[in-house]
Symmetry: C2
Subunit: 221 residues, 2 copies
DNA sequence: ATATTAACAATAATCGATTTTGTAAATATG
DNA sequence: CATATTTACAAAATCGATTATTGTTAATAT
């Protein structure tokens, strides 16, 4: 690191890397994030790391405890349920608005995103590297984001983005067995409902979809 | 400032002061927030101010432009409408959940908060000082927060809190004439609906309430 | 043996200074 | 005279070091 990369700032790069490390499960939930250690690891000053951690803390991925520094956010079934509920509320509404406002270009983007997702293997085969799983995660996120992308309310979209990060955090702390579920059929049904502009049906499918995600993660039968 | 106040950290104090200054309209929307100047004003180092501004930027009250520093968030009618819509979505649901889960203590708190609000003058008389208006703002906020306080989902409550800040930002950039509206009757009706545990009616009143807020601020019609 | 205080080490918070970047004035070039 | 290049300056970003806080261990007292 050390020198600024392109036009962006050091803090931006470190923040991006840290967020992705946290979301991909590189740190245990609750484990301390020592500013000086991270600074050494990234080869930057403490100010840069501190600013990065401050950003992530405000977004909820990192916990800040005055005079006790930073730590990775903790995980609990209760919190996941709360995140899912918040996602359900906001993303459902964004989905409705997106369906109501989307134009032809948006339709095409939805189809493209779904096609890409449907052709990308998730966890079926064993010996998947971390990189492969990260790639699937990105494509999955992109698919869900395309669905609501035509929502004309950026404030609402921003809330959805943040909630996605929070729920993404949990994906990586599930046991391998829990990864077997294949949402392929659900994604297909969701895409069909969206493209036929059926808001009610799309929301219904979507809510079942994320509810199931939570159930599987914590194995609620 | 200079020395740490109580058990809290310098950054926390500066952040609190800055947020309150921004929300009470001390700075023009879009005006630059120069780190070194603020540091001089608060008598702290630039690191403290920078961390404060970073926090506020992540919350949306401050804009950060890489290599161009920070500025106060800008204001537009369109954005206010988006904020109001997001508030409507989230606060309505929080209100329903709160009504469904609230206990006797919560009821008492709602009654107390409403009483306090109803007995506090807003803008009727002229020559109101800034401090008086700030006091009303706090009490008003407290009232609305009590209504949803029994909502068992902290993630949702956090979203509501942030959205409140964003919409509070607009209250202070309205012309004096727009301040005359008296929400007293609406607050009373809302309180009654909440206490009678009528979720549908409460949500209905609430949505009309905040919609009207937006209309008045930008004088729609 | 337990409680209290003192000294220490680790890390967080804060600082003042240095480097980098963006902008605008000044100068040069065609 | 218009455009390009250089220079100078202000502010942002980053750094390395200093100071403060907290938790822990050793020493002392009860």
């Amino acid at each position: 690191m050390a020198k600024r990369d392109g036009s962006s700032t050091l803090t931006e790069n470190v923040t991006k890397k840290l967020r992705s490390d946290i979301l991909s499960g590189q740190y245990e939930p609750g484990s301390p994030l020592t500013v000086s250690e991270l600074a050494k690891g990234f080869d930057v000053s403490v100010a840069v790391v501190r600013e990065s951690l401050t950003r992530l803390a405000t977004q909820g991925l990192v916990l800040q405890n005055p005079n006790h520094g930073f730590s990775v956010k903790t995980a609990s079934e209760e919190e996941l349920n709360n995140i899912i509920q918040a996602r359900s509320i906001n993303e459902s509404e964004a989905l409705r608005l997106s369906i109501a406002h989307g134009d032809l270009t948006w339709e095409s983007n939805v189809i493209a995103a779904h096609h890409k997702l449907s052709q990308t293997p998730e966890f079926k085969e064993a010996n998947r590297t971390l990189a492969v799983r990260e790639e699937w995660s990105d494509i999955h996120r992109q698919f869900h984001y395309e669905l609501i992308a035509a929502c004309p309310n950026p404030v609402l979209l921003d809330i959805c983005r943040r909630l996605w990060d929070l729920s993404e955090f949990y994906r990586h702390y599930s046991t391998p067995r829990q990864q077997v579920r294949d949402g392929r059929a659900e994604h297909k049904a969701l895409t069909d409902a969206v493209l036929s502009r059926d808001g009610d049906r799309a929301v219904e499918i979507f809510q079942a979809h994320i509810r199931l995600t939570a159930d599987i993660l914590f194995d609620n039968r």
